[in-house]
């Protein structure tokens, strides 16, 4: 999952970036509205966490610009002023949810995960595709009720595919979303991880939860 942190206070921005990275997110950081607006328009981000009170161009303007350009990734706003006026303005500009400062990271994370789930069309924290169940809150995966141990990267890969269940996800997209932009990119690595994931989820190769579409990518069947 590629997440944009738009926050002008460096300490808070870096803390958020580090905490989200620890949770397996790929992070883009921006410290002002202009930079943030550009990142949202140009990078293939999945969700943005936006501080409203930015110097220069405000977070609101950035959100409006994204929405105007047809970008519909979810946006979570961080507000320091806990007034309904500000919340309503932010949500009206195109944001999807808000968190009031100061906050606990767990709360921000929960909201981000809920928004991602919702943008994938899932309304429950538990995502079920066939025998595979993914709990976005506990970050747990169960197959037919049995817990499966996954590495952080494997979990992120499965989560990304399951949130987009029913859609074909290309290897290029997976590389882009799951790796930091400066990392070496090698689509073979994705193939290796998909192979490992299949073995862990379906050791006997009966369920086949992840389908390969030659030359196009991978798909997890919905339902």
């Amino acid at each position: 999952m590629r997440l944009l942190v738009l926050e002008d206070e460096p300490a808070l921005r870096e803390t958020l970036a580090r905490q989200f990275r620890d949770e397996g997110f790929t992070i883009d950081e921006a410290g002002d509205g202009v930079e943030g607006e550009f990142a949202g328009l140009e990078y293939p981000i999945d969700i943005a966490v936006v501080d409203l009170g930015l110097p220069g161009r405000s977070g609101l303007e950035a959100i409006r610009a994204w929405r105007k350009a047809g970008k519909n990734f979810p946006v979570l706003i961080l507000t320091a002023r806990d007034s309904w006026q500000e919340k309503v303005t932010g949500l009206d500009a195109g944001a999807d949810d808000y968190v009031t400062k100061p906050f606990r990271f767990e709360e921000v994370l929960a909201r981000v995960q809920a928004l991602l789930r919702r943008s994938g069309g899932w309304s429950q924290p538990l995502i079920q595709c066939g025998a595979v169940a993914l709990d976005t809150r506990a970050q747990e995966v169960r197959v037919a009720g049995e817990k499966v141990d996954l590495t952080a990267f494997e979990y992120r890969l499965l989560e990304y595919l399951m949130l987009r269940a029913g859609q074909v996800v290309s290897k290029a997209e997976l590389t882009e979303k799951l790796y930091e932009q400066d990392f070496e990119r090698d689509s073979n690595t994705i193939e290796v991880f998909i192979g490992r994931l299949r073995r862990k989820l379906d050791p006997e190769n009966r369920l086949q939860p992840i389908e390969t579409l030659r030359g196009r990518g991978y798909r997890v069947a919905r339902g």
Partner: protein, 451 residues
């Protein structure tokens, strides 16, 4: 420095003085013109009568001159009397004895049957009005001849009278104008009295000698004084609230501060040990900030149509609670409006609606209606927010509204919304009641009185 603005009184008096001057001038001028025309007409009538008298007594003499046989008007016989006559003919003229040495010279030479008036001057400068009448005389014997019969009268006595009348007119109008202006000044003084009283009472309020404006204002001022009093009450409440908030904030931060100091003194510096205290301080700050938010702008005069902000809130909450799939219905009686700060309205309704969304199962109903009473010029406002959650037990209700008065005495984040809403409502002299909803959950009713 700004130019001093002229007082209302001097504005009124100066304007009225100018108007009076023009009006009185016009009135005096037209009266004078009327009098002048009538006077001139009378003078002309006198001359007409003289000419007719001359004709009736005139006869043609042997020398062919037309001469009056007897002078009925003694003034014609008296030199310098002011009344003159002349009969001019082809064979010579007759002049009244009064015209001797007067230097009277007529200019008009009317044809027979023609009548002409003219203004001429005598040699001593006397202004005279003259009438010349051309006649075609046919005697019983002899040939017909043309004559001009003239009469003239000095205008000086009449002019002197005209001047006296004019002096009277000017004096009269000046006196009338002064009387009117004086009366106006008195009327202004009397009617502006309440304004001076208002000024005095406001400066008393500034000086702290009184709390609010008294009663018994004239109808034109009662709106202003009523609003001023409402503003004063609002400001006082706001000030009180700030004081309380500040006091509460400072007071409630003391406990965690003391705890941290204690921890540090014990040599405890692990982040985990400090965390509960930090959480507590954070909760306190958040709580008190939430209370301090409302009434920020202080502008409470504009009537706010309530539907639009409620719609905004509904759209915002629908996003925030998208997962719950809440059916949120919103009904506002058309034209429901209330003079409230826009931020306060959002805060009030936002807290109530957020609460309902938080505790409902799947349905929230919001209804806004005006609240009218005979003694209010502006209606009040009722907002009902209902949900289908598990409701609030009767025993809990009072406590929920009081909850979080002191953040350090309660669990942070629990139901602060309702007590904040209650405080905002109180700032507008309103009330908040909790009851049971037909939907099955809680029904929170906010009532803001009219004015």
């Amino acid at each position: 420095m700004a130019r001093p603005v002229p007082s209302l009184q001097s504005r009124l008096v100066l304007t009225l003085a100018a108007v009076l001057l023009v009006a009185a001038g016009a009135a005096a001028w037209s009266l004078d013109a009327l009098y002048r025309n009538l006077g001139l007409r009378a003078q002309q009538d006198v001359l007409d009568a003289q000419v007719i008298a001359l004709i009736s007594s005139a006869e043609i003499g042997a020398d062919g001159r037309l001469v009056p046989q007897n002078l009925a008007e003694p003034r014609l016989a008296t030199p310098g009397s002011g009344l003159y006559a002349e009969i001019e003919g082809a064979s010579g003229s007759w002049r009244s004895p009064s015209a001797v040495g007067s230097g009277l010279a007529f200019i008009a030479a009317p044809k027979p049957g023609e009548r002409r008036f003219e203004h001429v001057r005598l040699s001593d400068g006397t202004r005279v009005l003259a009438l010349s009448l051309g006649v075609h005389w046919e005697p019983e014997t002899g040939a017909a001849r043309d004559y001009v019969i003239r009469a003239a009268q000095s205008l000086e006595p009449w002019y002197a009278q005209l001047l006296r009348v004019r002096a009277g007119l000017v004096t009269g109008f000046l006196l009338l104008g002064l009387l009117l202006l004086g009366g106006l000044a008195v009327a202004l003084r009397v009617s502006l009295g309440p304004l001076r009283r208002l000024e005095r009472e406001i400066s008393d309020i500034e000086a702290g000698r009184r709390e609010s404006l008294g009663s018994g204002w004239p109808r034109e001022l009662s709106g202003v004084t009523g609003n001023l009093n409402a503003l004063l009450v609002g400001e006082r409440k706001r000030l009180e609230r700030y004081r309380t908030t500040l006091g509460n904030l400072a007071h409630s931060l003391k406990t965690p501060l003391a705890a941290i100091r204690g921890l540090l003194e014990r040599g405890e510096s692990a982040p985990a040990a400090l965390e509960p205290q930090l959480d507590r301080m954070q909760a306190i700050v958040q709580h008190q900030l939430k209370r301090a938010v409302f009434g920020g702008s202080g502008a409470t005069v504009a009537d706010h149509a309530v539907l639009e902000p409620l719609e905004q809130l509904r759209a915002a909450l629908a996003k925030v609670y998208a997962d719950k799939g809440i059916r949120m219905t919103l009904a506002a009686a058309p034209g429901t409006a209330y003079p409230i700060d826009a931020g306060d309205l959002l805060e009030l309704a936002g807290n109530l609606m957020d609460n309902a969304c938080k505790y409902c199962r799947s349905a929230v109903a919001i209804r806004a209606t005006p609240w009218t009473a005979a003694e209010w010029r502006r209606p009040g406002f009722v907002l009902e927010v209902e949900d289908d959650g598990s409701g609030i037990a009767p025993a809990e209700r009072a406590r929920v509204l009081e909850r979080g008065v002191r953040a350090d005495e309660t669990v942070a984040g629990q139901g602060i919304g309702l007590s904040v809403a209650r405080e905002i409502a109180a700032a507008y002299s309103g009330t908040l009641e909790i009851g049971e909803s037909r939907l099955g959950g809680a029904r929170v009713c906010l009532r803001l009185p009219g004015r």
